[in-house]
């Protein structure tokens, strides 16, 4: 079937199998930041934003994003021009293996879209659905709070 949606700000119009998982479609389109860690919605490595909301792309089929805006980590920033959240993850030492990082940054992005001044508790709750096995979440929470501070200081673009 034909699918029209916006991927990282760029309209996509393409043929998909109706049963194709969104995770697979996005990876097929080169969005390799979208990771498969479990395939059952439990780990959060495949998290993307649809219309600004974090969802599990492994628990969606591609047609569900018909007419929607999809954001993956590739749409947030790049190696040369990282988004402040990406920079905060670097500065806080929040990245170890980096496999959970894309999903983690995206749920943090969703949180900070709606909340400029999150408490540590808000951060813990927001990232609760994204498993990280390396960091103990300590520096990830630090990174989100650092990015929030930058946002309050007007350092976000």
């Amino acid at each position: 079937m034909k699918l029209l949606f916006e991927l990282n700000g760029v309209p996509q119009y393409l043929d998909v199998e109706p049963g194709e998982r969104l995770l697979r479609l996005l990876r097929r389109l080169g969005m390799k930041s979208v990771k498969e860690g479990c395939g059952t919605g439990d780990c959060g490595a495949c998290t993307v934003l649809v219309d600004g909301r974090a969802v599990r792309s492994c628990l969606m089929v591609a047609p569900q994003v018909q007419g929607r805006r999809v954001l993956t980590l590739e749409g947030l920033g790049s190696v040369d021009d990282p988004h402040p959240l990406q920079q905060a993850f670097l500065d806080a030492g929040a990245v170890q293996c980096g496999f959970c990082t894309p999903g983690m940054i995206l749920v943090a992005y969703e949180l900070l879209q709606g909340n400029d001044d999150p408490s540590p508790e808000d951060v813990r709750k927001a990232i609760a659905g994204n498993l990280c096995r390396c960091t103990g979440y300590v520096k990830i929470a630090d990174a989100v709070l650092l990015a929030a501070r930058w946002k309050q200081e007007g350092k976000w673009r």
Binding site: E17, A54, V55, L59, M60, V61, V107
Partner: protein
């Protein structure tokens, strides 16, 4: 790997309204499925499902006040209920109490109230609360109907929702408050045991009481004898403890791989006591 491809799916439809969803569903003769949040459906999609019928764009996503209570559309996501002003005050804040402990934010962005009602996993949080709250569901299939969730769960409801849409969940008004308690293995787990209790007071005595316990490991059910033991009594910590003991004595529980019946029996009383104490506190007793 379950997550790669919904193997048998050949077609995907966006229903324009309930009638179209139902006629598509009928046309698939059992090989079609209604898709809302997809959390349960796509986690373990039956291989014989050929058609998916998306019902998230037919106007069933809302939370509004209705006759003092709430009416929540079947495809309303848990997040949007949490964000709705109408839901915030209801039942002494029971919906926030409950939904913050259901799954995790990205899944709450997907999962719908109708989906939770229809999936009705025995370990789930929402069915226990819906039963305690006296929720009704309005459904539409070949016929239309409205049925208390408690009654629904006593019948063959899975068959019904293979041919019908859960249109709306109606939560009645309560003059009092509810509270929700749960024990999981981690902060984001399904329940090893859960309880939802509510009380209302008139003239210093308990006018009504609702006590439901779920994940026993069976689905949440009310404990009418525990409610009877409360009604007419003066609210007090001693009373809650009496009910705790009563629950521990009389509740039907069982074993599963997550916990034993013996643990559930003891802890069920504890959760009921805690929920009652918090609910009565919220109700200003």
């Amino acid at each position: 790997m379950s997550g790669v491809h919904a193997r048998g799916v050949r077609r995907f439809h966006f229903a324009r309204d309930v009638e179209e969803a139902l006629s598509l569903l009928a046309a698939y003769e059992g090989r079609g499925a209604l898709l809302a949040g997809g959390v349960d459906l796509l986690r373990s999609l039956r291989v014989d499902i050929e058609g998916l019928i998306d019902i998230t764009r037919i106007g069933l996503s809302y939370t509004k006040e209705a006759r003092g209570g709430l009416a929540i559309g079947g495809t309303t996501t848990l997040t949007s209920i949490l964000e709705s002003r109408a839901a915030r005050e209801y039942g002494g804040g029971i919906l926030a109490d409950l939904l913050h402990r259901v799954a995790v934010p990205p899944l709450r962005n997907m999962a719908t109230l109708g989906g939770a009602l229809v999936s009705a996993h025995p370990w789930a949080d929402i069915p226990t609360a819906l039963v305690a709250l006296g929720a009704e569901v309005r459904w539409q299939g070949e016929k239309e109907g409205r049925v208390p969730v408690e009654e629904l769960y006593q019948g063959p409801f899975r068959g019904l929702f293979r041919q019908a849409v859960a249109i709306e969940v109606l939560l009645p008004p309560w003059d009092g408050a509810f509270a929700y308690e749960k024990v999981g293995r981690t902060g984001y787990d399904i329940a090893l045991l859960n309880a939802c209790c509510g009380v209302g007071v008139e003239g210093g005595r308990i006018a009504w009481a609702r006590v439901a316990v779920g994940a026993r490991p069976d689905r949440g059910e009310r404990l009418p004898w525990a409610e009877e033991a409360l009604i007419g009594q003066r609210p007090s910590q001693t009373l809650w403890q009496e009910v705790q003991d009563l629950v521990a004595k009389r509740i039907e529980v069982g074993d599963d791989r997550r916990a034993s019946g013996a643990w559930r029996r003891e802890v069920a009383g504890v959760l009921v006591e805690r929920a009652l104490a918090r609910a009565s506190g919220r109700a200003g007793m």
